[in-house]
Symmetry: C3
Subunit: 434 residues, 3 copies
Amino acid sequence: MEALEAFQLEQGRRMIAWMRDLWSFPRTLTGEGVRQTLAYLQNQLSDLQLHQIPSGTEVFDWTVPNEWTLKSARLVGPEGVVVDASDNLLHVLIHSQPVDQKISLAELQPFLFSLPERPDAIPYVTSYYRSTWGFCMPHRQRESLPEGEYHAVIDAELRPGQMDFADLVIPGESPDEIVFSTYVCHPNLANNELSGPVMAMALAQYVAPLPKRRWTYRFVFVPETIGAVAYLARNLEHMKRHTRAGFILTCVGDERAYSYMPSRWGNTLADRVVRHVIHHHAPETISYSFLQRGSDERQYCSPGADLPFCSLMRSKYGVYPEYHTSDDHFEVVTERGLAGAFDKHVKIISILEANAVYRTTVVGEPQLGKRGLYPQTSTPGAGLAARDLVNLLAHADGTQDLIGICETIGLDAMKALGMVGTLVHHGLLEECPP
Amino acid sequence: MEALEAFQLEQGRRMIAWMRDLWSFPRTLTGEGVRQTLAYLQNQLSDLQLHQIPSGTEVFDWTVPNEWTLKSARLVGPEGVVVDASDNLLHVLIHSQPVDQKISLAELQPFLFSLPERPDAIPYVTSYYRSTWGFCMPHRQRESLPEGEYHAVIDAELRPGQMDFADLVIPGESPDEIVFSTYVCHPNLANNELSGPVMAMALAQYVAPLPKRRWTYRFVFVPETIGAVAYLARNLEHMKRHTRAGFILTCVGDERAYSYMPSRWGNTLADRVVRHVIHHHAPETISYSFLQRGSDERQYCSPGADLPFCSLMRSKYGVYPEYHTSDDHFEVVTERGLAGAFDKHVKIISILEANAVYRTTVVGEPQLGKRGLYPQTSTPGAGLAARDLVNLLAHADGTQDLIGICETIGLDAMKALGMVGTLVHHGLLEECPP
Amino acid sequence: MEALEAFQLEQGRRMIAWMRDLWSFPRTLTGEGVRQTLAYLQNQLSDLQLHQIPSGTEVFDWTVPNEWTLKSARLVGPEGVVVDASDNLLHVLIHSQPVDQKISLAELQPFLFSLPERPDAIPYVTSYYRSTWGFCMPHRQRESLPEGEYHAVIDAELRPGQMDFADLVIPGESPDEIVFSTYVCHPNLANNELSGPVMAMALAQYVAPLPKRRWTYRFVFVPETIGAVAYLARNLEHMKRHTRAGFILTCVGDERAYSYMPSRWGNTLADRVVRHVIHHHAPETISYSFLQRGSDERQYCSPGADLPFCSLMRSKYGVYPEYHTSDDHFEVVTERGLAGAFDKHVKIISILEANAVYRTTVVGEPQLGKRGLYPQTSTPGAGLAARDLVNLLAHADGTQDLIGICETIGLDAMKALGMVGTLVHHGLLEECPP
């Protein structure tokens, strides 16, 4: 079992509590559910900025959709109520058009959605851009529906409104940014939704009080896909100029193995720091191909944007069995699961904060012994203790950053942080100008 | 067994028919056999241009040899005729000097050639640049020769004449060329000679009527080695400027596994398209090293020429057991064998015709759903069908050509051709200027 | 067993004889032992230049230490003499401060050094930069010391003096240099000391009478670490401008497998030639990581110097069981061991002397047959004999040096030397200007 400290576990507890508060808000791409969610976040992150884009606005190749407001959705059969969205919003196909129709079971079938391979779970189904309607239910229930007349009632409105999203910028010494982006548009789903926003909140609250920040931090909360496209449309030039590393926060709450989704070429600073952290602290991580992507790296890493985004998840979307079903709830996401992912992202931040190009200030090996950094009697094996220190110095040639040096010498960058401090203090190492 | 369609099999039949017509022409480096062969080709390819270089002309480091005309060659022993070149031209060492000599079997031995490891076949032996003479026969026959007096008669002339060769240029939109080169200098050999010229004829007849050609096509018919050297001497500057990809057509007629001979560094467009085709359509292909080369890539890929030539063969010269013997005949080369190689070369041409650098026209993922290119209801697995399409878009960043994109996303370029057409039609993809 | 010729074995015998002469000089970082050693070397290498740097001089991050002169060192116990440095200088901790003290065994223990894992050997222990004293002995002896009073007497002086070192420059056509560096500061140690200086002497005597030298050769004899730092401080600019390849000569005397210590990035000319030689002539060589370095590559390869140094050893320092103990004597270092390493270094020199960028002078394959370099009758397999020659020509494109060509075509560069000569003689190959 992953070793975690009290501080991380405490963060896990806080995130679970936030998730319970946020659980019932009826999130879809647009409307009240998103607004309630962002208001809750703003309560925790007072500098969170809220933004809106009117329905119908074109954002790159897309158009901001109408707001969908669901008043009620109920399917009644010969033997009574079959499903009711007030029990679980997943029971209705998200963005269903209004309907009030009595039809036979055979006529109803095309409007029913269920999963034969997971017969007790309600699937999560959406149709944002094509008008239709539908009900979702466990496959076992669907199989047992009797013949007869059904009454499908969906009281919903699709009207021009706005799409809501938010961001939080925490300034650092450099205007260059580390970006975390997450999404707020899935109702009643734990790992593949709420784990992301609560992780972003916890990381923002970790970063904000740091006494010194090398980088500026940007936290982005958007509806998935269309929200990220819109965010890029509003911020593309700024992000292209200033983004040093970006991370999608998604599916960061369960206790299963970690999963790494690279950027398009897998060679950005974001990829390098994630690969370094998983090599040293989560070697069992599953590395996926960019061809298996599925979240907002599809936008941030698209050719026109080409931003350095990757993601370190726990179980990857689309892969774990509860994904996009009513089973993705609090038995999947746990305090320990969130705490572990929090720990890894704090390591990512810590390493990025120390990551610079360093060079030694002397020719030849410095005489570490006179500074108390090397044993002064040459007994056998005496030099091993200082091996990492001399290796770090021997590779600080001004050509690669700290992560690169650590990869070369096989040293965990988390251990190098203190060594760099010591060597800079003794005047043996200096940071090269960017 | 390789899946082939009626069109390819029909080409196989045509090529076999041409081979039967061409079989008996007495081809060597120079002389009537080559002229008869080129005349036959010109009958099928009316725009074929014939060229001649006089004997004695220096071409780079070589000198065009005299013409060799064989009237008759017969070895008679104590028990009658041993071999007669009128039965099979292979019975005489090619370019033998005239001889009319009665000698003992022991004295004759240095002038006899046979293959202990293939005792029933006549070996193919030449001596273009050193004066000698000889007879070739099955080893079993040689072993049974009785002691006694032998009469060796070779009535041949080696006189100044010319070396003949030909080419055919089929213009396209670009003056840059795809080149196919093959050789016409081996008598009575099927895979390691005639499969090449008939494949070139079939490909030329395939390319000529295409409604649109991105590239100009050049088909070259030369005696091997000296002919290719001479062709380079005449066309080097043009070929260095315009050759985008070149292919040696040799040993393309049997039904055994394919063989790939790379260019010197294996990194040219010609190599890339061949490797792509074999990965998707002939994965059992044997990839050889350039160090095992043996045909006219020795000239085209030499440091002074450095042209992008490779070859996709069936059984490689020097490797298959019938190579350079009288067994390399119509039991080795078949309609199916030729049809398969024709199919692969047509795929090479099709991919080269579509190969350009593309880039997407929008930032972020385009909304494929509104164009009917993506399922609009998000049921589980819905996106898989369009996965190749979105991967293609996600990698069309203007930095690599279509083959490169397909390699990155694991897609057969033959499947990508239609997708590129669709995406260009919808304005989502555009070709970058060269 | 490694195949060696009489010439190499004769060198092995000479080196062993030199080692026996040099064995007893009391070498430490500074003082008479080093001066006696350098005087002996100068007797063999008349152009050897001697240099001195006064104690207290700052060289980069280090300060030249005082001279240590030992008159006597003896530990007497209740039952008589325990150890006496006149038996073996290793019995005293090198650079011990003077002491004349009667103490109990318990009080003495912190000043005793021994190796439990090698209980019959005297360890070699130094303390150059911290004032202390001590005695070294076999662990078995130490374990059997009786309780009682001990008298520790070390009559030594640590006074300002000088550090001695030497170099020998043998000029060649180019002012660019091949450098061999070795160290002269360990007393009574065979593999990890004397094998280096005697190998440098033998190589210098091999190089000096060569009729033609492409490169200038520099042989450096310094105390390890501080001596190399000082040598760099005196010669850094010259060495950065002129060093083409450098080699540390250390641990080159035993008969065990060869060991390769790369330069920092493992990509210098020095590394390339060593890897080539071991691939073809010592494939059982153990390749170590630069992270396991331990000799003067620590100085020459440091970021501020960044010189192309690596080393080809026999058993690596720190790894073989006799390292830094009294067991590192003439049972470890042998004539055959030295002869083998001499052979490898002569191959390194031979290849470096021939190593240039070559290009063919003709387009296409040259006609080798007319020059007697290729069989003129095309019998099966006829071309194999000349395969290396045509491969060499086919890759001499002016883009890589001879080592690179040989790596590409899988040819031992020692075999290529003659071919290059032949091809240059025939005007088919020429050297590109640097």
